[in-house]
């Protein structure tokens, strides 16, 4: 009748806000390993659309073009890359480290067909721009009304 119910400390309503408060307190500190983000690098992306194209932009400052990897499989656009820290081996010489480093990978489901062989990608001033022309069937068609 009386089953043993495991007592889960982390499920109690009191423990939760305490953890949140801790994170909230540390959120603004740029300390590695503290706060809600653990110094992982997730670059910001913008996606926009024109009549004939899908345009993806990403904030990737200070990267080498050869370290950026873009793939398209089944309408899923994946942008991968790695940003390396300068003088990584001499961390003790750093006074301040606010910039983010490491690998990232982000995938976007485009939701429509694009012309895979005429995708254009460019990198300028730290912004990656990928222009994906829409396949003919996805372009808006104008239908004329006859009298």
């Amino acid at each position: 009748m009386f089953e043993m119910v495991p007592w889960r400390r982390y499920r109690t309503p009191l423990a939760q806000p305490r953890k949140d408060l801790f994170n909230w307190f540390l959120e603004d500190c740029d300390l590695p390993g503290f706060g809600t983000d653990e110094r992982e690098w997730v670059p910001a992306f913008d996606v926009s659309e024109t009549e004939g194209e899908i345009i993806v932009k990403a904030e990737l400052s200070g990267m080498k073009v050869e370290d950026i990897d873009i793939t398209l499989t089944d309408g899923l656009l994946t942008v991968k890359g790695e940003r390396k820290m300068e003088n990584e081996d001499k961390r003790e010489n750093y006074h301040r480290i606010e910039r983010r480093f490491g690998s990232f990978s982000r995938s976007l489901n485009l939701g429509l067909k694009v012309k895979a062989d005429s995708i254009d990608a460019g990198y300028k001033d730290g912004i990656l721009t990928v222009i994906l022309p829409k396949a003919e069937e996805n372009k808006p068609k104008k239908i004329e009304v006859k009298h």
Partner: protein
Amino acid sequence: MSDKELQVRDKRELESAGERTKPGPVFIPAVDIFESEAEITLLADMPGVASENVSIDLHENQLTVSGEVEQLTSEKEEYLLQEFETGIFHRQFTLSDRIDQSSITATVKDGVLRLVLPKAEKVKPRKIEVKAG
């Protein structure tokens, strides 16, 4: 902590940077600073800022760095997802006398500003040789 989805870290917005003639948000660029024997190097992330749009101003030990991002989108574009705002990057640093202020160099490459602040002669470590007597 770990069950949270990865989140894009927003650019930190500057509360007040004086009155500006141009409207738009002002961001604090993320900065790395490291030191070597001869100089201090400052790296600032300013994605979207072209080298001609960066201004560096030195006034009474106050080094001001600012950069403007040109509008990235054309009118024809319609946003499906917007994670980054564009605006002005602005940050100030106070330099000490240990910096040779006349020979500061700045370069911008791939959206990263690199400021090299050479140390003044008097603070550079000097090797003193011991003479055999």
